[in-house]
């Protein structure tokens, strides 16, 4: 069990920071060869040096650049077993009344079209595995797929959309006889560097932290490693019968209401 992912090849989008970077570390730690994408070159170089993973700059919504990335992965390792569609944004998003068309389009492009392209190209690559179509695809949705935010309409809508995408792709792969599993994870508030920045930029960082921590009945945010634990499990053969599932990892935030 030491190296559940030995010999497997993984692709992580948005892997330079936050949940994606933690997933790169964990997948490498369990023995996988990892390719990751993103836009932050300095962070990427540091992560490559630390883990031995490989980086390609890629805008996930850019359909034309996907075939080249997949060829690079296959040229390097000859196969693809794991894809973590993690890249996401809320940049330009607002409430239903205030959201502009550019903001909407930007979030849809990255969170929805980008995930579609990731899954589509991952399946195409996994079909080329020497033993036939095999693999595990994990989509990073959000608890806001089931509990939408009033001030982030596009984010909420796209995170719900990719849950349906996971199920549709899972059913399709089954119907085609591919041994490719597709699942969505729905994290609650995770203590990413971005959230830390937001907290530290406030007049009272401690009070802001308390607000974030209070969102989960568990009374704290998720740590990055806790999300990668679930990603690694779903990526491994241990999860061989899990497909088309939505898995909440949110410290009971969406389980129901707090008592009085």
């Amino acid at each position: 069990m030491t190296a559940r992912l030995e010999g497997k090849v993984a692709l992580v989008t948005g892997g330079t920071t936050g949940i994606g970077a933690a997933a790169v570390r964990r997948l490498v730690g369990e023995g996988a060869n990892v390719f990751f994408t993103g836009s932050k070159e300095a962070e990427a170089a540091a992560l490559c040096a630390e883990t031995g993973a490989q980086f390609r700059a890629l805008r996930v919504q850019d359909a034309a650049s996907w075939p080249g990335l997949i060829e690079d992965v296959l040229a390097a390792y000859g196969r693809l077993d794991i894809a973590f569609a993690n890249a996401g944004t809320e940049s330009g998003d607002a409430s239903i009344e205030d959201v502009g068309i550019e903001g909407w389009n930007n979030v849809v492009a990255i969170n929805q079209t980008g995930v579609m392209l990731t899954v589509q190209h991952a399946i195409a690559a996994m079909k080329r595995n020497p033993e036939g179509a095999t693999g595990s695809i994990i989509i990073n949705s959000s608890m806001n797929a089931t509990r939408p935010l009033g001030n982030y309409v596009t984010y909420s809508v796209t995170k719900a959309a990719v849950c349906a995408l996971a199920k549709s792709a899972a059913v399709h792969c089954g119907q085609k006889g591919y041994k490719i599993r597709v699942n969505a994870i729905l994290p609650g508030v995770v203590e990413t560097p971005l959230i830390q920045q937001i907290m530290n930029a406030q007049a009272d960082p401690a009070a802001t932290r308390a607000i974030y921590e209070g969102m989960a009945p568990m009374g704290r945010m998720a740590q990055l490693e806790e999300i990668s634990g679930l990603v690694a499990y779903l990526a491994s053969d241990e999860a061989g019968f899990i497909s088309g599932a939505e898995i909440a990892i949110d410290g009971a935030t969406t389980a129901g209401m707090m008592g009085v």
Partner: protein, 272 residues
């Protein structure tokens, strides 16, 4: 990377109801392989052939206590046994379950009450009586103690002529969410999640399918297994070991932020 490596449940004690067969037994085998100590319970007498043969095979780290999950006295005895043998418990799997099928107007009230008492009362009583020991033991392990309640995909979606089982497994699903919120809110070191297996090759499934065969729904059990495999996107039924690996994930520190969640292991059956 402390969660990597073998023996990831070293130093932990697990209690598994319905542990002599099927999913419960597979969980016991996996937990033992990960270094846990395991106490099984089931209906069979403590000196029964099944209990003694199973323990002989599982080895020193496993022990058994006879307990009917519908009996509060039996739960009190089971907790005492765990307390005496280990002084702690970190993992509780409320797995014992039974099924019932048939047209709703033909169901007998006593059969309805029986399935509710095993599948629902059993989960309630197990939780109620183990919570103090789980709370006392949970702080010592990363992610706290873990309660895993075995519901079913039949706790998520309805099926014709499965009303009683549907109702019982739906109850397990929401009971689990409520206790997860309760423990979190009180800062008790206990997580609670529900497991939702699809069709798993176990004695329970065989017996259930045999009843459909007896009722004329198919010629033989294998035909029903084949047709279930055909309607499952992954194209096959689950092996109990695949449920055990899911239970292991929920029991381990790797799932430390998961509570009140549902883990569906159904080969895509409910995604369609």
């Amino acid at each position: 990377m402390s969660d990597l490596g073998t023996k990831r449940l070293q130093g932990r004690v697990a209690f598994i109801s319905g542990g002599l067969r099927g999913i419960g037994l597979a969980c016991a085998e996996r937990f033992l392989a990960e270094g846990a100590e395991v106490v099984l319970s089931d209906l069979d007498a403590e000196d029964s052939d099944t209990a003694t043969a199973t323990l002989a095979r599982l080895g020193q780290a496993a022990s058994y206590v006879r307990a009917n999950v519908t009996s509060e006295d039996d739960w009190v005895r089971a907790v005492q046994a765990v307390q005496e043998r280990h002084g702690a418990v970190h993992i509780l799997i409320n797995n014992a379950g039974t099924d019932l099928t048939g047209a709703v107007e033909t169901l007998k009230l006593e059969d309805w009450r029986k399935i509710m008492s095993v599948n629902v009362d059993g989960v309630f009583l197990g939780t109620k009586h183990f919570v103090p020991l789980l709370a006392a033991s949970g702080a010592a392990v990363k992610g706290g103690a873990s309660i895993i309640n075995v519901s079913s995909i039949m706790g998520l979606v309805g099926m014709s002529e499965v009303s009683a089982y549907n109702a019982s497994k739906g109850a397990v699903r929401l009971f689990t969410k409520s206790i997860a919120l309760e423990f979190a809110q009180k800062k008790m070191p206990i997580r609670a999640n529900s497991l939702h297996p699809g069709f798993v090759l176990t004695p329970l499934l065989n017996a259930g399918f045999q009843r459909w065969v007896d009722a004329g729904a198919a010629e033989k059990v294998q035909d029903l297994i084949d047709s279930m495999a055909a309607t499952t996107p992954i194209g096959r039924l689950a092996d109990p070991a695949e449920l055990a690996s899911a239970a292991f994930f929920l029991a381990s520190s790797d799932s430390s932020y998961m509570t009140g969640a549902e883990l569906v292991i159904d080969g895509g059956w409910t995604a369609q």
